[in-house]
Amino acid sequence: MKNFSKTLITLFVLHSGFVTAQSKHFITGGTIEFEKTQNMFAILKKKVTPTHMDYQTTYENYQKSEQQFITYKSTLIFNATSSLFTPEPGKSLPWYYWAPIAEQLNTIYSDFGNQNTTVQKVFYERTYIIKDSLRKIKWKLTDETRKIAGYNCRRANGLILDSVYVVAFYAEDIHVPGGPESFNGLPGMILGVVLPHENINWYATKVTLDGVDEKKLVPPKKGTPATYKQYYQVLWDTQSRYGDVGRYYIMGFYF
C-alpha cells in the first residue's frame, strides 16, 4: 500500500510537471501591427482581360501616374482564445484604379475556442456580417524559417478558396492560431502572409505584449447577417455579369 501511494504520487508529479524547468515564456495576448503591401501594376494588369481590353489604357495610365507599391496598415489584437483584426484607412485610390483584393474590406473577429468567426465585410455601399465557422485552410508545413518583427517564424504553404496559393509564416512563440485577415489554423500566430499570384503580402511590423483591453476584443456588430455561402451567392449574383473581371472581383471580395 505504501508503494502504491508512492506510485500515485509519482504519477501525479509526472503529470503536473513539477519537475519541468520553464525556460520559455509563450505569448497568449497582445497587439500586432500589420502592413499590407501590394503591387498595383500587377493587380491592375489582371483587370485587363479579353472581355475588358479597354481597361488597358487605364492600366497604362496608372503606370504613368501612380506608384507601383502601395501599403496599408492594420491591427490585430488577441488573447489566448480570440482575436480581432481591424484595418486602418489608408490611401484611397481613384475608384477606376480599384480592385477589391487591393482594399482592406474586412474586420474579423475569430473565436479559436469555439472555432467560429464573425466577419464584417464592406461590399460597396453594403455591409455584411458573416457568422460562420473559422475558415479552413489546408496548410503544409515546411522547414523554412525566417525572422519577422523579431520572431522566428516557420513557413507553411496553404491553399484558400480551392485555388489561391498562400505562403504564411507563423511564430511558434505566440500560442494563438490566428493571423491577419482570415488566415488562421497554424500552430502559432501568423506574422507574414504572401499571396504570390495575387501580388500582395502582409507582414507584422510590431508586436506589443501589453495587456489587451478585453472590452475591445468583441465581434463587429453592424451589417446584414449572412454565412460565407450566402455572401458568395450575393457576390455571384452581382459581379458575375462583369465576366472575367467580375470573377476577379468575387475572389477579392470573398477572400
Binding site: G17, S65, T145, Q239
Partner: protein, 912 residues
C-alpha cells in the same frame, strides 16, 4: 505485484475512458530537453499527413505532456518543435489494430546552426454619390479613339445632349461646364464638350453650384446652377491636342473647324475658329446669358438658314505656388440668318376666337466681341482677392417684313397689317467685380467685402413702315381707324449700376454652425431715349411724334440686410437665410415731365440642405420664397407703335406678388448592381400673382396690361422618377423614367378670368450599350397633356411620342458606319385637326486612317427623308399657334477631319 497490477489497471482504465470520451484514434507523449532532462512546456506538437505534409492537428504540451485525439486513421508524421531546438519528427500510423500511439519522452536537442534564412520574393463601380455631387468614372465608359467629351457624356445615366449641344441632367439643363474647376472659354458648354478629348477625362462631376454672385459675396441667393466639372487625368494635363475639320456638301453647305490646345499642369491655352452654314458650328449662345441677352441681338435657334463665323482664344494659368491665377478669353463672332416663315394663330376670346395668319421674312446680321478676365490672388495666408472684368461690344442690322391677316370666327376680315422694319444697333457693356475676403484665426470666422460696377450703352436706328387696315363686321374697310405708319426711330440708352456689400461670418452654438450677417447697397441709373419722327412733306423724317417718343430716366436704389445660419456635419449640410430689402424706384418721364416713385419692401427666404442617408443614398431639399417686385415695364412701359395690333400698357397700381418654391429629391446609387434611382418633387405657387390682362377690341387689336390676381394662386407641381440599371448579366443600360407635372395658370381676357389647368404625363425609356467599337442607343418617350380652360369649349389635350435612335458600328479595315434618327408624332386633337409626324434621319459612313485612327474621312447624309419642315405648334390658354419656317433640309456632306494629340510623360517600368 498486486500493487503493480493495480497501477496498470488504473492506467488502462484512464486510457480507455479518455479514448472513449474523444475518439478511438489518438496519440500522447511527453517532450524532454535532452541536456537539462527537464520537460518542455509549450512545445508545439503537430500531426501532418505523411504523404503531403498537410497539417491535421496541433497542440502545445502542457507541463511537457501532450494528448491529441480525433485523428482519422492513416499514415502521419509527428513534428515536434520548440523555439531554439531542432525539430523532431517521427512517422506513425494509426489503424483499427493500433488506434493509439504513445510517444514516450521525445528528446529535443538545442539547435545551433540549423537556421536557414529564406527570403520570399515576392471592374469597377461607375458612379459615386457624395453629398449632392454625382461623380462618374470616365474609365467605366468606353469611347472610340479620338472621341470627345460629348461622346462620353451621352453614355452617362441621366445625361442627354440635344443636337445643338444643350446638356440635360436628370431633366435639368446644365448651365456650366468647367475644366478642373476652372472656366474654359467662359463657361460655354459646347467649347468643352466638342473640343476636349474623352481620353483626357478622369471623372465627370455633376453638382448644383451656387451662382457666381453667391460664391463671391458669400450671400447665398438660393440659385442652383447645374454644373459639370470635367476632371482631367494627371497624365493628360501636359500636352498638345486639337482637331481640324473640313466639310463640303451639296446645297452649298460647308463647315470648317479648327481647335488647338496646349495644356501644362499650370497653364491652359486654346484657340478655335469655325466657319459654317450647317447650323452645327460656331453658334454657341453661352455668352448671351452672361451679357443679359443684349450682347448679340440675334441668335440661331434652328429656324432659318444660318451662316456663322467665329473664333476665340483662351488662356488660364497659375503661378507663385498657385497663389495667383488668371483666366481670360477673347471671342469674336458673326452670324447671318435668313428666315422665311408662316404662322397661323387662334386667339381666344370669351366664347369665340379670332384667327390670324402671318407671313414673315427677315435677314439679320450680328457681329460681336467679348473679353473676359478673372484674376485671383492670395494676399496672405488668410486674405484673398478676386477681380473680374468683362467687356463686350456688338453691332448688327436687320431687315424684316411681315404680313398679318386677322379674321373673325365667322371668317370675315378683321384687319390686315403690312409691316416693314429695318434696324441697326450697337451695344457696348463693361462689368467689374472685386471681392476681398479674410479669414480669421478662429475657424469659421470670416469677413467679405465686395463691390461691383456695370456700364451699358446702346444706340439703334430703326425705320418702320406699317400699313394697317381695319375692316368692319361686313368686311368693308374702316378708313377712319386704318393707319399708315412711316417713321424713323432713333434710340439711345445707357445704364450704370454700382453696388457695395459686406458680409461677416461667425461660428456659433456648436461645431460646424456659422451665422452670417450681411449688408449691401446698390444703386442704378438708366436713361432711355426713344424718339419717333414722321416723314414730312419734303420726304425727310423730321416731324417728331411725341405720342410714340419716350425719354425716361430711371433710378433704382436698394438697401439689403441678410441673416444666414449654416450648419454642416459629417452627413448633413444646410442653411436658412432671410433677406429684407427696401427698394426705391423712381421713373422720370422727360417728355410728359412726370415723376413716378414706388417703394417696395422685398422679403426673401431661402433654405437648402442635403443629408447623406447611407453610402448609396442621399436626400436634398430646398425652399425659396421671394417678393416678386413688379418690373418697370409692367408699371410703365415705353409707348410703342412698332406692333399696332399688340399694344402694351402699364399698370401703376401693381402690387408685389410673393412666390413660394419648394423641392425635394432622393438619389440612390447601388454600386453592386450599377443601378440607381432619382426622385424629384417640386411645388411652387404665387400669392397675389402678377398676371397678363388682355383686351381684344372689336377691331382685333390686343391691348396687354398686367394685373394682380386676387383669390387664386397660380401653381406648378412636378414629380419625376428616374430609374436606371442593367438587366442581369448584360452591359446594356436601361433607364426608364416617369414624370407628371401640373400647372394652373390664370390670365384676364376682356376682363374675364381665364383659368387654365394642365396635367402632363411623360413616360420614357432609354437604353444604350456601347464599347469602343459600337454604340447603340434607343430613346422612347411619350407626352400626354390634359388641358382644361374655363373659357374654351375645346380642351387642347395632346398626345404624342418620340422615338430616337443612334447607331455607330466600327467595321473591318477601320471603316465605320452610323445612323441617327428621330421620329416625332403628335396626334390630332380638337385644336389641331391634323396629326403631325416627322422623321429626321441622318446616316454616315467613313474610314479612319493612320495608326491612331485620327484621320477620318466620311460622307454624311443629313435629313435623308427630307422631312425637316420647320413646323412647330404651341398652345397656351391664350392662343394656339402653328408655324412653318424655312430650315436646313436634306444635304450630303463630305468631310475630312484630323485629330491630333501628344501628351507627355512615359510609363514607369514594372519594378521587380
Amino acid at each position: 505485484m498486486t500493487n503493480k497490477i493495480a497501477i496498470i489497471l488504473i492506467c488502462c482504465c484512464c486510457c480507455i475512458l479518455s479514448a472513449r470520451a474523444q475518439s478511438n484514434y489518438a496519440i500522447k507523449g511527453t517532450v524532454t530537453d535532452t541536456t537539462t532532462k527537464t520537460k518542455l512546456d509549450g512545445a508545439t506538437i503537430t500531426v501532418l499527413n505523411a504523404k503531403d505534409s498537410i497539417l491535421q492537428k496541433f497542440v502545445y504540451t502542457n507541463k511537457g505532456a501532450f494528448n491529441i485525439s480525433g485523428i482519422k486513421p492513416g499514415k502521419f508524421l509527428l513534428l515536434v518543435t520548440y523555439p531554439d531546438y531542432a525539430d523532431y519528427t517521427a512517422d506513425f500510423e494509426l489503424d483499427a489494430a493500433h488506434p493509439q500511439k504513445n510517444f514516450d519522452d521525445i528528446p529535443m536537442i538545442l539547435r545551433s546552426t540549423l537556421l536557414k534564412d529564406v527570403i520570399i520574393k515576392a471592374k469597377a463601380a461607375a458612379i459615386k454619390i457624395k453629398g449632392d455631387t454625382t461623380e462618374f468614372n470616365a474609365a467605366s465608359y468606353a469611347t472610340e479613339k479620338n472621341a470627345k467629351v460629348e461622346d462620353l457624356l451621352k453614355q452617362l445615366p441621366g445625361m442627354r445632349i440635344n443636337q445643338s449641344g444643350v446638356i440635360m441632367f436628370n431633366g435639368e439643363q446644365v448651365q456650366k461646364v468647367l475644366v478642373d474647376g476652372e472656366e474654359f472659354f467662359g463657361d460655354d458648354p459646347t467649347l468643352v464638350t466638342k473640343n476636349l478629348r474623352a481620353d483626357m477625362v478622369s471623372k465627370i462631376q455633376v453638382y448644383d453650384d451656387k451662382s457666381e454672385t453667391a460664391k463671391q459675396t458669400g450671400v447665398d441667393d438660393g440659385q442652383k446652377i447645374k454644373t459639370i466639372n470635367v476632371k482631367l487625368r494627371e497624365d493628360k494635363k501636359r500636352g498638345v491636342f486639337g482637331k481640324a475639320d473640313a466639310e463640303v456638301g451639296t446645297d452649298k453647305r460647308y463647315a470648317e473647324q479648327l481647335m488647338a490646345n496646349k495644356f501644362t499642369p499650370t497653364e491652359k491655352m486654346a484657340v478655335y475658329g469655325n466657319l459654317g452654314n450647317t447650323g452645327n458650328v460656331g453658334l454657341g449662345g453661352g455668352d448671351n446669358d452672361k451679357y443679359g441677352g443684349g450682347f448679340s441681338s440675334y441668335a440661331y435657334n434652328g429656324v432659318g438658314i444660318p451662316a456663322a463665323r467665329d473664333a476665340g482664344v483662351h488662356y488660364d494659368g497659375k503661378w507663385d505656388k498657385d497663389k495667383q491665377t488668371l483666366n481670360t478669353s477673347y471671342k469674336v463672332g458673326a452670324l447671318d440668318v435668313d428666315k422665311k416663315g408662316n404662322s397661323q394663330s387662334q386667339i381666344s376670346l370669351p366664347g369665340s376666337f379670332n384667327h390670324s395668319d402671318n407671313t414673315n421674312n427677315a435677314h439679320t446680321h450680328g457681329f460681336n466681341q467679348s473679353l473676359d478676365a478673372r484674376f485671383t490672388a492670395k494676399l496672405d495666408s488668410n486674405t484673398s482677392l478676386y477681380l473680374s472684368l468683362n467687356g463686350a461690344a456688338a453691332n448688327g442690322h436687320s431687315v424684316s417684313q411681315s404680313n398679318t391677316v386677322t379674321t373673325r370666327e365667322n371668317d370675315t376680315l378683321l384687319n390686315t397689317n403690312n409691316n416693314n422694319t429695318t434696324n441697326n444697333y450697337q451695344n457696348k457693356n463693361a462689368r467689374a467685380f472685386i471681392n476681398i475676403s479674410k479669414k480669421f484665426k478662429k475657424p469659421g470666422r470670416s469677413v467679405t467685402f465686395y463691390t461691383s460696377g456695370n456700364a451699358d450703352q446702346s444706340t439703334s436706328t430703326d425705320y418702320q413702315r406699317s400699313d394697317l387696315k381695319y375692316y368692319n363686321a361686313d368686311g368693308i374697310i374702316d378708313a377712319t381707324r386704318s393707319k399708315l405708319i412711316d417713321q424713323y426711330k432713333p434710340n439711345t440708352s445707357d445704364s450704370h449700376f454700382g453696388s457695395i456689400g459686406l458680409n461677416y461670418t461667425e461660428p456659433v452654438f456648436t461645431k460646424g454652425m456659422t451665422l452670417s450677417v450681411g449688408y449691401s447697397l446698390s444703386d442704378s441709373k438708366s436713361n432711355n431715349n426713344q424718339q419717333s419722327f414722321d416723314k414730312s412733306a419734303s420726304g425727310v423724317y423730321d416731324v417728331p411724334d411725341l405720342l410714340y417718343s419716350n425719354n425716361y430716366s430711371t433710378h433704382n436704389s436698394s438697401n439689403d440686410y441678410g441673416l444666414q445660419l449654416y450648419y454642416s456635419k459629417t452627413k448633413f449640410w444646410g442653411f436658412i437665410r432671410g433677406n429684407v430689402s427696401n427698394a426705391v424706384l423712381t421713373q422720370t418721364d422727360r417728355i410728359a415731365d412726370t415723376v413716378l416713385t414706388r417703394k417696395f419692401v422685398n422679403l426673401y427666404f431661402f433654405s437648402r440642405g442635403n443629408y447623406q442617408l447611407s453610402k448609396a443614398a442621399s436626400i436634398n431639399f430646398s425652399y425659396n420664397g421671394y417678393t416678386q417686385q413688379p418690373s418697370i415695364t409692367q408699371i410703365q412701359p415705353l409707348r410703342q407703335n412698332s406692333d399696332p395690333l399688340n399694344i402694351q400698357l402699364g399698370n401703376p397700381t401693381l402690387r408685389p406678388g410673393y412666390s413660394n418654391n419648394i423641392s425635394a429629391g432622393y438619389r440612390l446609387y447601388q454600386t453592386t448592381y450599377d443601378r440607381g434611382i432619382n426622385i424629384n418633387v417640386s411645388y411652387s405657387n404665387q400669392i397675389n400673382a402678377i398676371i397678363s390682362n388682355r383686351t381684344t377690341d372689336s377691331a382685333g387689336v390686343n391691348t396687354y396690361q398686367y394685373s394682380n390676381l386676387a383669390g387664386k394662386q397660380p401653381n406648378n407641381w412636378n414629380v419625376n422618377l428616374d430609374v436606371y440599371g442593367h438587366p442581369k448579366n448584360t452591359d446594356l443600360l436601361v433607364d426608364p423614367s416617369f414624370g407628371i407635372s401640373g400647372n394652373s395658370s390664370y390670365n384676364y381676357i376682356n376682363s374675364k378670368l381665364s383659368q387654365n389647368h394642365n396635367i402632363t404625363y411623360n413616360p420614357g425609356i432609354n437604353a444604350h450599350i456601347g464599347k469602343a467599337t459600337y454604340w447603340y442607343a434607343l430613346y422612347l418617350s411619350g407626352t400626354f397633356i390634359q388641358n382644361h380652360n374655363n373659357l374654351q369649349q375645346v380642351p387642347n389635350n395632346s398626345k404624342g411620342y418620340q422615338i430616337k435612335f443612334e447607331q455607330y458600328t466600327k467595321l473591318p479595315l477601320n471603316f465605320f458606319f452610323g445612323t441617327n434618327g428621330q421620329y416625332d408624332y403628335t396626334a390630332p386633337n380638337q385644336v389641331f385637326p391634323t396629326a403631325f409626324s416627322r422623321f429626321l434621319l441622318k446616316a454616315y459612313v467613313g474610314k479612319n486612317f493612320l495608326k491612331e485612327e485620327n484621320l477620318k474621312v466620311a460622307i454624311t447624309g443629313n435629313d435623308l427623308l427630307n422631312q425637316n419642315s420647320g413646323y412647330s405648334r404651341n398652345g397656351t390658354s391664350d392662343n394656339f399657334t402653328e408655324s412653318r419656317n424655312n430650315v436646313i433640309r436634306r444635304f450630303f456632306m463630305f468631310s475630312v477631319s484630323w485629330d491630333f494629340s501628344k501628351f507627355g510623360k512615359a510609363a514607369q517600368t514594372q519594378k521587380q
